[in-house]
Subunit: 558 residues, 2 copies
């Protein structure tokens, strides 16, 4: 063999090795693997660097744009990932990371995920998933029953019938919402007479045939941005996502909803879907689903409920009443990687009527043939992993009781935190928790008093100043790395709908304690005295004093 | 404490335990975990039952529709999964499982996946992903460069610029194709004058404003079904996916493509996108991309290339020329869980022009704010896992050289298998491999002779009979569980375009040997003698004899 041939042969052999020889037990990667199995919390604690590095600095470690010509050793890449990626990732499982919808996960999810990845099934068709297909149908059936409470005969008839689907598994809530609205849109303009249906002929001809000027999705102002994205994707246009005002509790105003639907009707715009929100992303409030269902029926609109966050509240005997009316929805979105405590990347939508999914049914010759049991015929996605195995395991191992405890304790903890905030003179609770989400901000007592008697212009000035402070505290606390709350922008009626930046807190991690919450508040109080913000703080106090001084005794009483 | 309270307390404690106490090393789940780490191939071999159980029988194990009230032990669920799910799953990594686009995976993917799941990042925003965000941008940049070969200055300028995106990471090729066509649709009808753009006002007003009667996506008959699905989702209607005839090699006929575009133009239908296929799903052929790019330019259409399967052919110095012209595409789909050898659930689309993704940009208040580095503003999906870490690792550890070997050996193996089939008198090669996919069927020599001189009606009869035989052999071989080829339906010109069912073989698993391929053929030959099909076989021979007898010497020569 020539030297060149030899080296080529060596490359081939090295490449085969990675497919045939497991990582040696003493290799870097195996050690990490064992370390994670033995002590996940310790691994995360030890390897994620708490203090934030600037992202533009992190980018330097990921600046090569060429795929390397020559292989690097597995151990080298493993070490690189540990030092550069893991170290600079986010400790989403930390009990002090209460800013987003993440949590610690049950330990069993990790080895189960490994089984799932080892099997590497593809759920698009039974030929690459076999038992995973009935299992996914079972999971959809179980969630369907949690929502709709149909009887045994119903599930025995429909759950495994390959011609129907009780829902669709998706990569997350966004695709679940999109799938539901896709179904709604296609069903709103079905085949009739010479018209072969929107799914065949498209939106342009559908509107022309049915004599409409447009089609709309109606939802509260607090609806998730994925609904606007869906309106765009589906060809309706973002402006077809019609926002309706909410009451002081961030729940849709049903009178305003009805008025809006009537107005759309007058404009010859088809109310294609009404969306209820069961757990608004920013404030965790639940729309009056029962009343919305009636309005949807009145206008012949598909009623979709986005319960990506709040759906699992149905596990709680104490709180499930908050979602009353959800059983009237035509479709409901659940996110499994949220309050079903499954790792990132899985959500689902369930349909009340098992025939609904047929509105988006697709077939091909090499898979998902007509009559097959392949799940891919009614999902938006094609190839998909067997994530439903993790939902299945959660539902079995935690069971209704376990999820109930998680839900109840989250909501109770949010109430406790709300009380703690209200007991602190320097903080203002902006939205009271209905589920386990609340918003608040740093706002000293005298500023609160001033806001209470401020006119719109004064309130705007005070809130503008507070916004800068809130942003500073949130950002600095995140950078320090001990704790994390997120921030968002709300328009409280009491402040003349001026956009106020607030801290947003999601209490889904069962390991978050009252002490951790107290620490978060005290770090924020400490940050309010940071020199980086002292000018703003002093301006704030001056403004508040001026407002209070000027206020008449009458106004102050009001 | 009362008994009830005590039991409630015990439930709470049990529930907390799953969040705080790792699985014991001697537990069922830990043993499986270790077993997989030590010997994945052995685990799969040992636990997956080869012989197929009827799915309706498997369904019995997944027939409960109630979420259990009380928790089951982790060990119990682990055992259940082993016995009922794993046992009845599909050995997609088996070297004899050559029917779909699955393969054995490099060993390092498994422990790396564990790190990814342990970190549980969410790529929608940097606040829940930090270093994963620049890493994903790097992966997109690397694939972008593989396709478009821009220079260093280009990537230094664009790769990490938060206002732009070189692509979008997705759960798979279907969403990647949808994303590309979403971009194409929105850009085909931009804001102008009083019109605020399709993304805002929707398709109905867009077509009216621009004076079109419709919008179409043009692709060869062999385009993936996800394109038709995309046409439906995007509101164009399935009939807007315009199929164009192919040549004998399953590549689009560019004259027919041009004619079709001209015809659409005359009908006032906007040619919104032309899609080239780089690796047809069923036959692995590559469209003449270079010529298609010119036609797309001529009609002002977005040129998308679906290289979900064939994209990684660019790694091969020997075969990359097959994809010539791909660098002229506006967007290109890659599937990472196919020939990048990453576990199920990740694909991506790259855009030639970094500003293209802005056509689908979305923002919200609590995340993906304007100016943020959050990747979620230009992806169809919202929350997403850090799968790009696995692509990153593949690109580093296998490198260009490793992927080249995989691609070259796959194509070479397909050529070898084609020769083996042609050398067998009882088999007919239906489509010759261009990449690593081919189709064939069992078709005895005399039947092949008869087909060569059959008139349309005779050919139809022979092929109808052959279809039943092919279906039987494919299904029975799958059920026996030793090997798996898939089946699809093609319309060969030489058989008057009659739909013929064929075996479809994908040779991507580096562990598939020539011996395995020989065994597959001999099992199929054996199955052709199975009593379940003997009546069909004897009818087939009778028909063939009749055709041959009747054929004039002239016809036989022809």
């Amino acid at each position: 063999m020539t030297g060149k041939k030899k080296s080529a042969q060596a490359s081939v052999e090295a490449m085969y090795r990675v497919f045939t020889v497991p990582e040696a037990p003493e290799s870097t990667l195996s050690r990490i693997d064992q370390n994670i199995s033995r002590n996940l919390a310790g691994f995360l604690q030890e390897h994620i660097v708490a203090v934030e590095r600037d992202l533009s600095d992190v980018e330097k470690d990921f600046s090569d744009y060429s795929i390397p010509e020559k292989p690097v050793f597995v151990s080298e890449q493993a070490q690189f990932l540990l030092d550069k990626l893991v170290a600079n990732s986010v400790h989403t499982a930390s009990p002090a990371f209460i800013g987003h919808m993440t949590s610690a996960l049950p330990y069993f999810m990790l080895p189960l995920s490994k089984i799932m990845i080892a099997l590497n099934q593809n759920l698009v068709k039974t030929e690459t998933s076999k038992a995973f297909t009935p299992m996914e149908r079972q999971v959809l059936g179980m969630i369907h029953r949690l929502v709709y409470q149909e009887d045994g005969a119903f599930y025995r008839k429909w759950m495994h019938d390959p011609r129907y689907a009780l829902g669709a598994m998706c990569s997350g809530g966004t695709v679940a919402n999109l799938t539901a609205l896709w179904v709604a849109r296609n069903r709103a303009f079905p085949a009739e007479g010479s018209f072969r249906g929107l799914h065949q002929e498209g939106l342009f001809r559908a509107l022309k045939y049915y004599g409409y000027e447009g089609a709309a999705i109606v939802v509260s102002r607090r609806g998730h941005y994925s609904l606007r994205k869906a309106a765009d994707v589906l060809g309706l246009g973002r402006e077809s996502l019609i926002p309706v005002d909410t009451d002081d509790e961030n729940r849709i105003n049903t009178d305003a909803l009805r008025d809006k639907c009537l107005e759309l009707q007058r404009q010859k715009i088809k109310v294609m879907a009404i969306c209820g929100v069961a757990g608004t992303t920013e404030t965790g409030n639940v729309d009056p689903l029962d009343a919305m269902a009636d309005i949807a029926r009145e206008f012949g609109a598909h009623f979709h409920v986005d319960a990506a966050w709040g759906g699992p509240t149905l596990f709680s005997r104490t709180y499930k009443h908050l979602l009353r009316g959800i059983e009237k929805a035509d479709s409901v979105t659940f996110d499994a990687h949220k309050q079903l405590y499954v790792p990132m990347g899985v959500g689902l939508v369930v349909f009340r009527d098992p025939s609904l999914a047929s509105a988006v049914e697709h077939h091909a010759q090499y898979i998902i043939r007509k009559g097959s049991r392949d799940l891919g015929s009614t999902t938006l996605e094609g190839s998909r992993p067997g994530m439903s195995m993790l939902i299945h395991s959660g539902l079995k191992i935690l069971a209704r009781e376990g999820y109930e405890i998680l839900i109840d304790q989250g909501i109770d903890k949010a109430k406790t935190f709300a009380e703690m905030i209200e007991a602190e003179p320097d903080f203002e609770l902006v939205t009271r928790p209905e589920l386990n989400i609340l918003t608040y901000r740093y706002c000293p007592e005298n500023v609160q008093e001033a806001l209470a008697c401020a006119d719109p212009l004064q309130a705007e000035k005070l809130n503008t100043c507070l916004n800068r402070i809130t942003k500073f505290i949130q950002k600095t606390q995140r950078e320090r790395g001990k704790a994390f709350v997120s921030r968002t922008r709300l328009e409280p009626a009491r402040y003349y709908n001026f956009p106020c930046i607030v801290f947003r807190v999601v209490l889904a991690n069962p390991l978050t304690t009252k002490e951790i919450l107290a620490d978060i508040l005290s770090e924020q109080r400490e940050l309010s005295r940071d020199e980086g913000i002292e000018d703003e703080i002093s301006i704030l106090h001056q403004m508040a004093d001026a407002v209070l001084k000027q206020a008449t005794p009458n106004a102050r009483q009001a």
